[in-house]
Amino acid sequence: MTDYFKQLWADLVQLCRAEPHVLATWLDKDKEKIQSCLIWLILGSSLYGASIGLWRAPLQSFYVAIKFPLLIILTTLGNAIINGMLAQLLGAKISFRQSFLAVIMSFTLIAIILGAFTPLALFLLHNLPPMGTAAASQAHALVLILHVILIAFAGIIANIHLFNLLEYICTNHLKAKQILLTWLGVNMFLGCQLSWNLRPFFGTPHLEVRFLRDDPFNGSFYEAVFHILKRLLF
């Protein structure tokens, strides 16, 4: 058991160092590394998810701690086949499971970075005006902006490391860039929609705390964006 935790910790350290030649070895041990990645992904993203919902209510915090890892896992699973196909078509000699592991490694790194940011997010929340006060709407906006910045930062770092790994695997800068961009596009395409289905995350102050909205499958992220743009432009 102790060996298992030691190995798990060693995996975390290797993932954070993100040395391409080390992470490339992971692709050959995909089964055990997928398990390890999933554990860290769930831990990191649950912790951070809890901090996202905490400003709204403790119950919201609990819900988001479940939904945030769920969002990442569902996005990765939903795109597993197409990501594998695109990687192979664009010249990476990796199997479907290996491309799945590469994507999950990148998401795990995001989760670990975000997990490490949790104490900072909590400290900021401690200093924000709580729900029910006059400045609540400003605080809500600040929480939103803070988390968008943190998630974007973690995403950039993780994708740089994913690019390095892809470049190492493909031994070609252009191929690695193409694969990374297509993976990013496909993951964002589905991820945006799933985050719409799984909302609320931050918890709008005047709405009741719930796990999912009454109509989680009514409408899409892109329809919402379209209607907002329509209202703005026409």
């Binding site: 391409p20 086949i81 009514n218």
Partner: protein, 296 residues
């Protein structure tokens, strides 16, 4: 001495750098040999094969890991390849399928590709049909498979002629297999996108948006299918002109887009299986979008 005199002297100078013909070649060679060349270090990729161990210094017990050999052997497609081997080859090494077609083994390959094409399109068609349900459960897969085959058949003669005009040494059978390969690759990618399309199908409520999502997915898939066809023609001996094949790709895309309008409704509901009103696809799309804007 005037400046004109200097120019005259310079132009008469046999050792002037540019005037190579006036310099004794043996002398020049000896000069070359004497000049030491700066030896540049050859560029090395990161060590892969030699560096077989790695030690994690944070742990008391060093963890030894084997670095995998990244340069794998080229993909070899057996002569009598199974369906899965062919699908695998289309994704990992399309050139091996093209080589098989080039070698004249296109008949069996064609039928396998056709089978995969129909299977993948039927699955994706079911997801498209699930948006409206009822009749569309079976109408959408039939229309998608039929429409794609019809578009391909309409464009097949022009592909052969354009291929020949661009200089490719290719038979009608080979070009048919190449076309089937491209469309099969498209269908495999559509199948890969099936989970994504499935999630959108249950979330989106308007036909216009569902249409946009399916068109986007199809656009990505057909891009790779056409890339395969272009690659195939490049591999056939003697092709010189790319523009004709690019033109043909545009023709195929336009034909397929028009086919979706001709066979409508594919996504939405209708009392009849086919609509008799004739329309250009751009006009149809603008109409749908206009209705959408009015509704909201």
């Amino acid at each position: 001495m005037t400046t004109d005199d200097i120019h005259t002297l310079e132009s008469n100078n046999p050792l002037k750098d540019n005037d190579v013909t006036l310099v004794d070649t043996t002398e020049k060679e000896s000069m070359r040999m004497e000049t030491p060349k700066p030896e540049k270090e050859p560029y090395h990729l990161p060590k892969k094969d030699n560096d077989t161990t790695l030690v994690d210094t944070t742990e008391k017990e060093s963890i030894r890991m084997e670095i995998p050999k990244l340069e794998k052997e080229p993909y070899h497609l057996p002569e009598s390849a199974s369906t899965m081997q062919l699908v695998d080859a289309l994704l990992k090494s399309p050139e091996s399928v093209i080589n098989q077609i080039k070698a004249g083994q296109s008949k069996k390959t064609f039928f396998i590709l056709l089978g995969v094409f129909v299977f993948c399109h039927v699955i994706y068609g079911l997801i498209v049909g699930s948006f409206s349900g009822d009749v569309q459960w079976y109408a959408a897969p039939i229309k998608i498979v039929g429409g794609t085959i019809l578009s391909a058949l309409l464009c097949y003669p022009s592909l052969y002629i354009f291929g020949c005009l661009s200089g490719a040494n290719i038979t009608p059978g080979q070009i048919l297999s190449l076309l089937a390969g491209g469309l099969t690759l498209t269908s495999i990618l559509l199948l890969g996108f099936a989970p994504v399309a499935f999630i959108f199908t249950f979330s989106i409520k308007t036909i216009a948006f569902m249409g946009v999502i399916h068109t986007l997915i199809w656009a990505v898939s057909i891009y790779f299918g056409l890339r395969y066809i272009v690659m195939g023609l490049t591999r056939m001996d003697g092709r010189k002109d790319n523009n004709l094949i690019t033109t043909w790709c545009v023709i195929l895309i336009l034909t397929m887009l028009q086919m979706t309008t001709t066979l409508r409704p594919i996504i939405g509901e209708s009392d009849t299986l086919l609509t008799h009103e004739k329309r250009f696809f751009v006009e149809h799309w603008l109409n749908v979008l206009d209705n959408e804007m009015k509704v909201k």
